[in-house]
Symmetry: C2
Subunit: 116 residues, 2 copies
């Protein structure tokens, strides 16, 4: 399901190390060893993060057992960007829209206040 | 920390119900009762989701104890969009870039294969 795919992607991105790994892969493919070095992490710890990213479709890995170089897969990021586009008007219209909301909110609260 | 803010936002968005609540709030403020109705959820269940969204700064809530109307706050979504922009070239350049990667990957694997 498309909705579950989005959840998996968001969950995979909810970790600073995994986002740092993606940032590293944005400049080219890298082996587990190459990825572990800058993060001062153990190979199993990096492998665990790579598995989460791979399951989310954010990276693909080569088949050779020893190096298994990872590369960035942009598909899920594109899906998130598509989802975000539905909300873009809120920050592009900026505070005008927010102020409208605030006014609406205050009116509602006054109404509720009167009911008591 | 900015990195932790991103993690909190991504974690809050990694749930289809919470994203559906945001979609509902995109068309205007709503009380807990109004939010619970279309989702056929209990008020405590909706309140739990609203707490996660509020902690992530994705919604703000009114102060009146009974209704506490929620409204969308676009700031964290804008931050995610900014983060995504760093990867936009990957899906906009599309498969050319992916093919370059694949080629690089295959070359690396051939090299590793020869070493054995």
């Amino acid at each position: 399901m498309s909705s579950d795919r989005l959840s998996t992607t968001f969950a995979a991105l909810a970790d600073p190390t995994r986002r740092a790994i993606l940032a590293r892969l944005a400049s080219g493919v890298a082996s587990v060893t190459e990825l572990a070095e800058p993060f001062e992490m153990s190979l199993p710890a990096v492998s665990k993060h790579l598995k989460v990213l791979e399951r989310a479709g954010l990276i693909a890995r080569g088949r050779k057992a020893q190096s298994r170089p990872s590369r960035l897969q942009p598909g899920p990021l594109k899906n998130i960007a598509g989802w975000l586009d539905g909300y873009r008007r809120f920050w592009e219209e900026g505070f005008d829209r927010l102020n409208d909301y605030l006014r609406e909110l205050q009116t509602k609260e006054k109404k509720n206040g009167r009911k008591k």
